[in-house]
């Protein structure tokens, strides 16, 4: 019995991140309004970013910025040895700066497309747009 509680304590964060991803994924597939789908795309991307950042999290680690380490020019040997276990893993943070910027770029393009579609069909509902295409 205790190992089930142990896994739950150790893993519940991942399960919540996956439910967030699935909320976004569901919105992309099932929503009828185009802007709602764009919101779903963004939720899906942000949830994956959350998953990546949580890979690097460490209990008892501080933020990945080296305090009170004054580098004297090039050969600034730190006054005391830097132990990796004190600091949080910086690599997922670097990757996720890229992913956030990519999600904003995709958002900008998607909204421009939505404006173009609205300019032609005067609606954002997918079923109404398909109906108007069939009329032509």
């Amino acid at each position: 019995m205790p190992d089930i509680i142990q896994t739950i304590i150790g893993k519940y964060n991942y399960w919540i991140y996956i439910t967030l991803m699935m909320i976004g994924f569901y919105a992309i597939i099932a929503k009828n309004n185009l802007v709602k789908k764009i919101i779903g795309v963004n939720i899906f991307q942000t949830a994956i970013i959350l998953f990546y950042v949580s890979i690097g999290a460490k209990w008892g680690g501080t933020i990945p910025i080296l305090q009170n380490v004054h580098g004297e020019g090039g050969a600034g040997a730190a006054t005391h040895a830097i132990k990796a276990v004190d600091y949080i893993n910086p690599l997922p943070h670097v990757l996720m700066l890229t992913a956030i910027v990519v999600s904003v770029a995709t958002l900008g393009v998607a909204l421009s497309l939505a404006i173009l579609i609205y300019r032609r069909y005067k609606t954002l509902e997918e079923d109404e747009i398909l109906a108007r295409i069939r009329e032509k």
Binding site: Y26, V35, I39, I43, A57, I63, I100
Partner: protein, 81 residues
């Protein structure tokens, strides 16, 4: 990084995400999406990812919401679902 705070913010994030999808007004969805991004930025700040939190605050909560509101002004607030 106390896990209670972590759990509460996660709950807010999930509620904001569900709200942003189910609300029947696009401007409301844009505002709720801004709240979702800001909650996400809080979560990362708690987890120690300060650079990512700063970027999400300025890029995700800030500019994304402005783009959404601008796009909603240029199209329509009406949604059927």
């Amino acid at each position: 990084m106390t896990w209670e705070l972590d759990l509460i913010i996660l709950a807010f994030v999930v509620i904001a995400a569900l709200g942003a999808i189910t609300i029947r007004d696009l401007l409301g969805a844009a505002i709720l999406f801004g709240a979702y991004s800001f909650m996400m930025c809080l979560l990362w700040a708690i987890m120690g990812a300060v650079d990512v939190a700063f970027t999400e605050a300025s890029v995700g909560a800030g500019v994304s919401t402005v783009f959404f509101v601008a796009a909603v002004f240029r199209t329509t607030r009406r949604t059927k679902d």
